[in-house]
């Protein structure tokens, strides 16, 4: 065989701005095709889960297969409400940024099922190590939105005292770990947190999230290695929303295999789940959490979803992807899908949906009024008097001198 001339491969998405959106290359298996494995399923039996996709909600809007978590109608309505509240919150906060009341915002449109179903499937005292697009988890833990808004506005009620970016929340009371802007760092931390839980013979587990882009970071490899080595009680999640700012998932290695399949090389089960299917996300998360809770070790979940909005208020997706790509996304809108399921079950209708939407919008408006009454970034921001606090537990002499110099 003669050698070929070497060719450098540079991944390119199939569509770009100005082209018709196209999702034909995405293979979507029918709902209910993958059985639910036992918690101690050997990892080498998990290839179908890593390469396939767990789906529960079928095209007929009914739940099918043994992954169906069989949630009662009240729980489903609660999930729907959390998702709708998250979306209403996002829409309203984006407008605040456009009006100059905050510097920055990030929506999670299209990914609401991931956060809400996972938060509901985990226990309230499990520690979440979130990434930056998981406000829906705080919503699902019933954390007051006024509190988040005050941070977004950096007003005097901002619990983080103006020290952190608007959407990088920290809510210890909701077991929601401080979000870092450095991507992936929370992944090995969650493993360590979970190991400490096991060390103390506690019952709490940890869960962590990165985007598919961040799987390229060393922290991802460290987390999977340490989680496997010490069989840490942790649920590791990759939110594959197809984009790392402008880079399609191929730039993170998504052309060669799924992100869930990464787990198998570490001897961990990896499961890909339809991230826009509330029931499937709930069931897979519960399965992974049960594994962790019963000393069967960690699991990697790939939440296959689509980032419908821009990366952030500093981003314009029309520069790198076809307009209206979300409309052809084969897994649909998570809110619409759960709504249709509830209607199909006879537990919901268009009128109730519309009035819930109105109610939530009114609620967010009230919350916003209250938060803004305390101040916004430009108007009555929080005081810089605490600027030197919390660098260390106690103020060391050099910071005391600098605080005096700053006149604070």
């Amino acid at each position: 065989m003669t050698d070929e001339t070497l060719r450098l491969h540079l991944p390119e998405p199939t569509t770009r701005p100005g082209m018709d959106p196209d999702a034909s290359m995405i293979k979507v298996p029918a709902a209910g095709t993958l059985p639910k494995p036992p918690l101690d399923e050997p990892d080498d039996q998990m290839w179908d889960y890593a390469l396939g996709m767990v789906r529960v909600l079928g095209d007929d809007d009914l739940a099918v297969g043994d992954w169906d978590p069989k949630l009662d109608a009240d729980t489903l309505r609660r999930g729907l409400t959390y998702m709708m509240r998250t979306r209403a919150f996002d829409d309203r906060m984006l407008r605040q940024q456009r009006q100059g009341k905050t510097s920055f915002y990030m929506k999670c449109t299209g990914e609401e099922a991931c956060g809400v179903a996972q938060a509901m499937a985990l226990r309230p005292d499990d520690m979440l190590f979130p990434s930056y697009r998981q406000q829906s988890m705080l919503v699902a833990r019933d954390w007051p939105l006024v509190d988040l808004m005050c941070q977004i506005f950096n007003n005097p009620k901002d619990r983080l005292q103006g020290k952190q970016l608007p959407v990088l929340y920290s809510v210890k009371d909701a077991n929601f770990f401080s979000i870092s802007g450095n991507l992936g760092t929370q992944f090995p931390q969650a493993v360590g947190w979970a190991m400490a839980s096991a060390y103390k013979n506690d019952s709490k587990i940890a869960a962590a999230w990165v985007g598919e882009g961040t799987t390229a970071e060393g922290d991802f490899h460290h987390a999977l290695t340490f989680a496997a080595v010490y069989q840490a009680p942790v649920v590791l999640n990759v939110t594959n929303n197809q984009y790392a700012i402008s880079s399609f998932s191929g730039i993170a290695g998504g052309e060669q295999s799924t992100f869930a399949a990464r787990a198998l090389g570490y001897g961990l089960p990896g499961i890909r789940v339809d991230g826009n299917d509330f029931l499937a996300v709930y069931a897979v998360t519960q399965w992974a959490a049960d594994r962790a809770r019963n000393n069967f070790g960690p699991t990697l979940i790939e939440l296959y979803t689509y980032r419908a909005a821009a990366h952030s208020t500093s981003d314009d997706p029309s520069g790198y992807r076809p307009k209206d790509e979300f409309t052809v996304w084969p897994l649909g809108d998570p809110i619409a899908r759960l709504k249709k399921h509830l209607i199909k079950l006879g537990e919901w209708d268009e009128q109730r949906h519309a009035s819930l939407q109105d109610e939530l919008e009114a609620e967010i408006k009230r919350d916003l009024k209250e938060a803004a009454s305390h101040g916004t970034l430009g108007v009555r921001p929080c005081s810089p008097s605490t600027m030197f606090d919390d660098v260390f537990k106690e103020l060391p002499p050099h910071l005391r001198r600098q605080r005096q110099e700053a006149g604070l």
């Binding site: 920290s170 493993v191 537990k393 002499p397």
Partner: protein, 338 residues
Amino acid sequence: MSRMNMIQAINSALDNMLDRDPNVLIFGEDVGYFGGVFRCTAGLQEKYGAKRCFDTPIAEGGILGMAIGMGANGLRPVAEIQFADYIYPAFDQLVSEAARLRYRSAGEFSAPLTVRAPCGGGIYGGQTHSQSPEGIFTHVSGLKTVMPSNPYDAKGLLIAAIEDDDPVLFFEPKRIYNGPFDGYHDRALQPWTQHPMGEVPDEYYSIPLGKANILRPGSDVTVICYGTMVHVCETAVKETGIDGEIIDLRSMLPLDLDCIVASVQKTGRCVVVHEATRTSGFGAELIAEIQEHCFYHLEAPLMRVTGWDTPYPHAFEWEYFPGPKRVGEALARVMEDA
């Protein structure tokens, strides 16, 4: 009270803390069953079990990422980085995470964490087993940086570091693990067991971080140093007969500026010595502070004696190492107009 070298003193500190606090646990590459490549954790796994003292994969970023999570969940992890030269893969976890967690969460979350790392050269370790990166970390807000110069201080400072609620980098100058190296590699090393600072209580005690030690009072010139250089400076003072006041910083951050300022205002002269490279090194910070606080007391230009701004060269480490001769020359220069 026992006679201990610095390795034994560090081991004793870890032993005391494992015994006192069930939340203390120790891990790193080769620290568990084997007891560490420098033996600092020898016997601890046997005594306290693998749960309290265990081996980790070779992934410094993973080790410290895990440690931060453990610290945030109520434990007091003590991580060993096998050589300070290997700390860079963990840089992001230290700088962006350990150092920032308390601040970015306005005190909601914090991760007490002690990172032990053998540092410094003079052991034919070449450029990857000889570095002194302390100045890189003193530049980061939110980290404490400590370097002991003798077994007694090593134990007391390490216990204080483990008990501290903030992340502490604890650099161990490996050239003085076995004795107070005076800078002459061709002379026999005096073992710590024959040195007064090798007298170490077996029991728990701590030395507060941020308190310098005036090792030798003097009136001619203030000599500021830490780690191995403390002994080199002592030798240089002896050899030159210059009445140097030797300040062993013990911790760089927090810094005992009051001690430094009082001394330099008294002597009017100062030489700063460290083994680390010069440019943007911790000596630059010290000199900036001294000129700001002592300018009108100064009788001579402030001087630095440091490692050269090259990687640590394997075959030329004694040309690189700031030995007593170079320190002595600097002392003589600042005394020229006296």
